[in-house]
Symmetry: C2
Subunit: 375 residues, 2 copies
Amino acid sequence: MPPLPEAAAARLSALGNQMRTLSDTFVGYPCSQDFSYPEIIPLLGYAINNVGDPFGESIYRENTFALEREVVAFFQQHLRAPAEQTWGYMTSGGTEGNLYGLYLAREIHPDGIIYYSEHTHYSAAKLVRVLGARSIMIRGQDNGEIDYEDLRETIRIHRDAPPIILANIGTTMHGAVDNLTTIRAMLKDMAISRSYIHADAALSGMLLPWVDDPQPFGFDAGVDSIAVSGHKFIGSPMPCGVVLAGRRHVDRVARSVEYVGCMDTTIAGSRNAVTPVILWSAIQRWGADGFRERMGRCLEMADYAIAAFARHGIKAWRHPNSITVVFPRPRDSVIRNWQIAPSGDIAHIITMPHVTRTMIDRVVAETAGLTQQQP
Amino acid sequence: MPPLPEAAAARLSALGNQMRTLSDTFVGYPCSQDFSYPEIIPLLGYAINNVGDPFGESIYRENTFALEREVVAFFQQHLRAPAEQTWGYMTSGGTEGNLYGLYLAREIHPDGIIYYSEHTHYSAAKLVRVLGARSIMIRGQDNGEIDYEDLRETIRIHRDAPPIILANIGTTMHGAVDNLTTIRAMLKDMAISRSYIHADAALSGMLLPWVDDPQPFGFDAGVDSIAVSGHKFIGSPMPCGVVLAGRRHVDRVARSVEYVGCMDTTIAGSRNAVTPVILWSAIQRWGADGFRERMGRCLEMADYAIAAFARHGIKAWRHPNSITVVFPRPRDSVIRNWQIAPSGDIAHIITMPHVTRTMIDRVVAETAGLTQQQP
């Protein structure tokens, strides 16, 4: 391969420096940044590719299926998914996972209506549109949870159509968890026999397994499929995720694809074979105990942030078991300086493992107008 | 971060060795393996993420949008896409690109019918199903091109529905290029005023720009959108791709998503920010002249393979400007040993830049039954 021209190398070097600088102000997004995976470097010399079903046998043998299967097994265990009744694969991120879950739901209930709250991630509207599915957006509560009464009334009006619930296990802005017990009771109460629950658990799907008293969130709480990000709590230099679904749902799609001659159970064909190594390594390094301890530190830091805001008379809060600290929208310079995603009159910082007290102190001081720092 | 346990490090080391061994027999898939991108390593320590539209301004500033835009510009130039009339982004691979093109087409023509030949990549049936679109599979010719008469007759029967053509610019098995001039003349001949052509140019989209006399393949040949892989001819340790589409088509989708409060023009939300650096580096290293020379060597190697097969009385062939060498399906041991994807009674080797004469000689000898080698 020809060498990288000097000017190009200089640009990449500058880009690296820019990322290092920016990493000091990375408090607004739910992505961990306390990682280092030198063990992946030797694999970057090969055209590795996890094309197709990780539980199949691929002719394309330059793959990391074996590690991917172990990652799926770890997620099955901690999302309380019975291994023999569920199946999963590693996605390019949360969007592919949510598309997969909703795709299965739409295939099972072609006449179904997808319900999701207004606090659902902005990609939901796009996915519903890609699928060409019927959908109704439900009012959200101020705390970020879905408005259960609005959900109940809306489903009641459309009792002829199977409800497909896109539940949030950690909303984007509030870190709120839709109550799966309430939702299932509601469906039972209306004698609805055909339904589907997909959980968007991008962030909280890897938080709730590590707390003592989690809200209902996994397969034991009745979800049919669940999508979790890998680059959020665990941390990865590139987006990735895991989607799990009931095996009986996946078989339905897989069967019909067999008809055209192959078992093509994933949305993407060619799939990243490096990210399974990253998540596998992280699991090996941390283990469940390490993740639990790590989550404890994140919760402590979230409480530290709330107290720091309070000392300046700024009301900040978080949901139980959430590390998303919601506070009133600060002025634009704070948003820009600290890569904070606002929504209407609120904003949040998320105390991912790399977020320090010093970073929080600086954000709070700037928000309180004590400094005009330009990091 | 806790250290990688010794047993885990040993497994990864074994995996690396396994990949090195397998790379000696990697002749069946269209992925280059002659790359090395050490320049990406410093970026692997950050939670970089190209979330959203690369031409927008993101609050998430740990991104590589600037390089992604230059990659898109390079593809625009060589796929003959006028920069001011087209738009593009980097995908997780060919499937996302094809989904994107067909999604735009279905949005523009909700009553349209998607036509694709039986030689189209197996993912087409899945994508059509995800989109919930009407589709008809068209007969293929033995050489891999679509059967133009069957296409014409089928469209004629459904003249009330706008045709959405999924054209192959390089079929998976034969490397065949559907004739865009013929297809467009057919539509004109039938006085069809509403139509859409999406080109799946996964491999050949980065081959045809480098030959002297390419088949029609780009926007100058009338495509509305085109998907090309980045990990195929250019080469990358993880799948990636570029999709380009007419700006007027994208605006339609973007507008409607603005309604829910954001410009969300890509299918995936969070997107890999490392792969843009990889393609950008490769472009800097090779340049158009380098790619042209590289393609010349691949074509020579394809002809070498055809001659080598011929010396053993085995009929092998390739399409003009294709490096996919088609030959009769060999016995299973050859398929397994050389990671060769068969289809019915044919198979292929693809003379990607890393494929050597020695590798070809060995495949040919094994196919001819001269050896029983187990690599």
